[in-house]
Amino acid sequence: MSPAPAAALLAGLVAAALLADRTASVGAIAALLFLVCLRAPARRRLYLAGAIGSGLAVVLVTPFVETIGSHVLWSGPTVPVLGQLDVTSEELRNGLFQGLRLTAVALAFSAYALLLDHDRLVQAAGFARRSVLAIALATRLVPTLERDAAGLVEALRGRGVEVSGLRGRARLLTPLLAGSLERALNLAEAMEARGYGRPGATRAPRDRWGLRDRLAPLAGALAVVLGVLWL
């Protein structure tokens, strides 16, 4: 499938997950997106862990920061600022719902980052090409940081310095951030030197859309309608 219709379909699924108000519906969308992500050939573990981990965090935290419902399952101590900690069955249900929502959105982003050809997506952009390019470059940040981190660790190991534990890895955060800022500046300079931003830009010819490509945006739109009306 071409990347533009695939992106439209993913956007439709995200919208449906945000509009739906049944936990089962959101869970089904998240499961579908999870299966899609499993098709990614490499690097999927980090994205899946991030998506599921953030969803789980919401499931765990929500009951303690929300105060809804009257069916108390557990009563805890009173904590300054937060008040009395208690967990109700309504809070648990809502936590699960919000966690699944976040997981679905994060999985859709993972599928976008892992499976779509961003080059063709930028080339296919008929309008807002700058925004699409900016999103594509931002998406590349995760694998680039991953590669940079591996390079820093390798250079340190090459000097006999082992990087271990949370503290050892935390030490790499500042150089990684500084490195990505430096790279962003260099890239911006190189782009300007290659005429980026000049009026009258053209696009290399795009691939023709097949039947699946034409159906995908329709399926995305259908998902939104279903999300509003029935899910």
């Binding site: 050809d117 961003h118 080059d119 063709r120 930028v122 080339q123 390019l133 470059l137 590349r140 694998p143 590669r147 390079g151 820093l152 390798e154 250079a155 340190l156 190991r157 090459g158 000097r159 006999g160 310095v161 030490r171 790499l172 150089p175 500084a178 490195g179 430096e182 790279r183 260099n186 890239l187 911006a188 300079e189 190189a190 782009m191 300007e192 030197a193 290659r194 005429g195 980026y196 931003g197 000049r198 009258g200 830009a201 053209t202 696009r203 290399a204 010819p205």
Partner: protein, 446 residues
């Protein structure tokens, strides 16, 4: 008529001293100009001034005038100058916009408004011309440094500019690839300004030589005259790789080793490789032939798929990318990482590489040549039994290279040293013997 005219150009970066001082010259259509000078002498800044990036992109204090094809760079933005001139920057990894090679080469053509149907053909032709046609469908992240450099050069050549500005375009290329790149730039018909730290690669192909020193143009002469006036270290040198048998106590031995990053893709097969205490071994070979893989296997950063690697004592590896030696907040602290924070020892190592004055500076504030030397100091300080240097002369000027060769020779009795390099002049100057990873990806005696 001059294609480009520079009149009394002076420039200083926003927080720095003068980078260029009172430079005046003219560039004529079709001429090939070698731009030489020590690290930090202003070569890259001068190229940026020609491209209009200085002052538009960097800010700073600019005086004088630069005119390219009749356009004053003070009023014309760099994007307006693109196409008339094409710029290749020093670090190919930092100028790639897209993830696939063909899209990357097409990017500049799209920006310049090339008719859509012409774009694929021109991109493919530029890649083929630079000998990288087979890379068209590859992902950029999978390319070696040399392959990436060729792709970036193809991206610039595809624009068919009238003025080509090349900032160390061959720093990651093997000698054949470098000669091809320079020939191609020359045959493009454009005026070419090539900044180089390996003068032998460009002097044979150029018509005129510029030499910068501390931002001043101290030499502007036709090639023949320049030969007589260039400092000795910048004169082209013969490079005959030494052939010898291993001698001394083996510190590292690879036996029947093979390795692939993917299970079905063998990168290196090595029947036998040995590095002994007291000798310096140069590993040469074309781009993508497994030199870096051999270096990493020797130091234990990679484990072989088959065969055996035997090492004695501490091994240190210097990566090709000096950007990986920017972890600490000060240069001396960066170097001290390998010796448990021993700052006096780190400062001595910095001193050996002429960086004493930079000890307290942030590593990111150093020039690219200084970063290369900082990275060297960061591994030399450990005084390892096996020292493996991967392209240690990238971005290093000839005088510094001579000093590095002398330093390595002086310290060689205490360790086994392996130098992976495309710089045959350096290899010839420093090594006791050379091995090659070409052409069948099997390590053999050169």
């Amino acid at each position: 008529m001059a294609l480009a005219r520079v009149e009394r150009l002076s420039f200083a970066y926003p927080d720095g001293g003068p980078a260029l001082r009172e430079i005046s010259l003219e560039l004529r259509a079709g001429e090939v100009v070698a731009l030489l000078g020590p690290s930090g002498s202003g070569k890259s800044t001068f190229l940026r001034a020609l491209a209009g990036l200085v002052p538009h992109f960097h800010g700073g204090r600019f005086s004088g005038r630069v005119e390219v094809a009749g356009l004053d760079t003070r009023s014309a933005r760099p994007s307006e100058l693109a196409g008339t001139l094409g710029t290749l920057f020093q670090d190919p990894g930092d100028q790639v916009v897209f993830t696939r090679v063909e899209a990357e080469v097409a990017f500049g053509l799209e920006n310049l408004g090339t008719p859509p149907l012409e774009i694929p053909g021109r991109a493919a032709a530029a890649l083929a011309a630079i000998g990288a046609g087979e890379l068209a469908g590859r992902r950029v992240a999978e390319l070696s440094g040399g392959e990436l450099q060729r792709v970036c050069l193809a991206s610039v050549l595809a624009l068919e500019p009238r003025l080509l500005l090349l900032d160390e375009p061959t720093s990651q290329l093997d000698p054949d690839g470098a000669a091809n790149a320079i020939d191609l730039a020359r045959s493009s018909g454009a005026a070419v300004v090539v900044s180089e730290q390996r003068p032998e690669r460009v002097l044979e192909a150029c018509d005129r030589v510029l030499f910068l020193e501390e931002g001043r143009l101290v030499l502007d002469a036709p090639l023949e005259e320049a030969f007589a006036r260039l400092p000795p270290a910048w004169q082209p040198r013969e490079a005959e790789l030494p052939v010898a048998e291993p001698r001394g106590e083996p510190v590292c031995r690879l036996e029947g080793v093979s390795f692939g990053y993917e299970p079905d893709q063998l990168v290196l097969q090595c029947r036998s490789f040995e590095a002994c205490r007291g000798e310096i071994v140069a590993v040469v070979g074309p781009n993508g032939s497994g030199k870096t893989t051999l270096a990493k296997l020797a130091t234990g950063l990679l484990e072989p798929a088959a065969g055996r690697v035997v090492r004695r004592g501490r091994a240190c590896y210097l990566s090709q990318d000096p950007g990986r030696y920017l972890v600490a907040e000060r240069a001396d602290e960066e170097v001290a990482l390998a010796v448990g924070g021993d700052l006096p020892r780190a400062r001595r190592a910095l001193g050996q590489l002429g960086l004493s004055a930079q000890a307290g500076r942030h590593p990111r504030d150093l020039s690219s040549g200084e970063r290369e030397r900082l990275a060297l100091a960061a591994v030399l300080v450990a005084e390892p039994d096996l020292l493996v240097l991967d392209e240690p002369t990238r971005g290093v000027d000839p005088e510094r290279k001579d000093e590095l060769a002398e330093l390595l020779r002086r310290q060689s009795p205490s360790r086994a040293t392996v130098v992976v390099t495309n710089d045959r002049v350096f290899a010839a100057a420093v090594a006791d013997r050379a091995v090659s990873t070409a052409p069948e990806r099997e390590v053999v005696l050169a």
